[in-house]
């Protein structure tokens, strides 16, 4: 099926129409991801990165909750039938607006990364808890460890079709999240759009140009057919992660030093909202 950017907005309109059927139960629908950013790659970008906000009281009333759930399930079915790459949206309760993922807090509150397509703008209520901030700070180490597994693709010879597919999938994920996680490890909290620029500013001497290459993988995966080129990107990314890891460890070296970050967050020393 040939798809165009307009099809993505039709899908958003369809979601909003479904949400309207909740008879004022839904307070807001927040769109993020490539549709909100205006960077859709037709046929590649997926839907639906969105949060549907429900009143907290819904949970106490079986009939109301079931009705909301029913409509959201139907909305997911409608979206899945759109012919666009699809995953379900999410729902959130209004008494959870201070519990968004710290990693994506700036994204969810930034006008260039998110868009309210229905109901109230809840941005001023958005926040995260200290545990979420702390996990976001240390998530970089986990990404680095996960990426070690990519070594299995650095063998001699051509990558098989299945290997190439897996490598491209992982590199696309890295393109989306690695700059953001690297920034947050450095205690810089940008939205996903600004992550690469922030990283280049923070680490001008590291190989951040590789993320431009990764963007090509993200936006044009079909053009990535050269095994050696893919292996080169893996190697450069592994080297980048290793260098940043060593820099982080030169600043904070011990268990106590890392956990003291959480203690500070718990005392209210949270990153400033941009």
């Amino acid at each position: 099926m040939n798809v165009a950017i307009e099809d993505y907005w039709k899908a958003v309109d369809g979601l909003v129409e479904d949400v309207r059927r909740m008879d004022q139960e839904a307070s807001s629908v927040l769109l993020f991801g490539s549709v909100a950013r205006g960077t859709v790659t037709p046929g590649i970008s997926d839907i639906m990165d969105a949060l549907v906000f429900l009143p907290a009281g819904v949970l106490e009333d079986e009939e109301r909750f079931d009705q909301c759930l029913e409509i959201m399930v139907e909305a997911c079915k409608h979206l899945s039938e759109s012919g666009l790459p699809f995953h379900p949206f999410n729902y959130w309760f209004l008494d959870e607006t201070h519990l968004l993922e710290a990693m994506f807090l700036a994204t969810n509150t930034s006008a260039r990364s998110s868009k309210v397509v229905f109901g109230d703008d809840l941005g001023s209520q958005f926040g995260s808890n200290p545990a979420s901030y702390f996990a976001a700070r240390t998530a970089f180490f986990d990404m680095r460890r996960q990426f070690h597994q990519m070594s299995i693709y650095l063998h001699e010879g051509e990558l098989s079709a299945a290997e190439r597919e897996m490598v491209i999938y992982v590199l696309r994920m890295a393109s989306k999240y690695a700059p953001l996680l690297a920034c947050i490890a450095l205690n810089i909290w940008p939205d996903v759009v600004g992550a690469l620029a922030a990283l280049q500013e923070a680490l001008p001497d590291l190989d951040t140009d590789l993320f431009l290459k990764l963007r090509t993988v993200q936006e044009h995966p079909d053009t990535m057919t050269d095994s050696e080129e893919l292996k080169d990107i893996i190697t450069r990314l592994m080297n980048f992660l290793e260098e940043l890891n060593d820099r982080l460890l030169s600043r904070l070296r011990t268990n106590d030093e890392w956990w003291s970050l959480y203690d500070a967050l718990s005392r209210g020393d949270l990153p400033a909202r941009s």
Partner: protein
Amino acid sequence: MMDIEKLGDFAERVVAKVGAKVESIIYYPHPFTQGGLVIVCKDEAGDLLSVVKSIYACDAPDIPVHCLRRRELFKLSLPGLSLTLLPALIDERPHLTFWLRHKGVVLHGRDVRDAVEHPRHARVFLENHIEACMVYMRRHKILGSLMLGNYSLVISEIDKQMRFLMALALLTCGHWDVTPQTTPDLFIQYYADARPKQLWSDFDALRQLDGAPDESASRRVAFKAVRLFENFLWRLREAQDECGD
């Protein structure tokens, strides 16, 4: 529990290739997964990436491998990326250091288990996993399964997650030696707040109804299970100092 003999064979292959740079290889079992390997390289091992590449060229088993320098052992006690928990949505990290220290098997080299510190605040892991459930359970396992009519999958996923959340709540009370089977009874014994215990009991009774031949009945059971799960999340989130005597 993995086959220790096979893991030993893997350790031997690693040692044959990069033994001079490796200080220790330890297997840790885990109550909710198959466990994983911690490969500790010497601080003076030099380029870690070349060691990592050699390790993965030794036909590494399909379990998590933590390859780090001795001075990086503290990373084992830190939280991490919830994004990588899919599809199982089980986080090894909260129990990892406990099972490594108390039940780990040294496959090669020095026993460095005593050098591994436990997380300073277990509550962090409970809060992180509640968030992971809000982000991933709701989207992928609840809406994603309900839209496909996979009602039994909704029930089994909620069952798995409630047990794991109870295990994390127990960890905040110092109880790490649990299994998915023993967790509910221990939770009822040691957790102070009666409400989440009641929600688990209600769910436990409800899941006996799973598998009804009537689709609309299965759907009703799944919807009710979701509501119980959401209330369970809310209750655990709001709880403070809930460890009984």
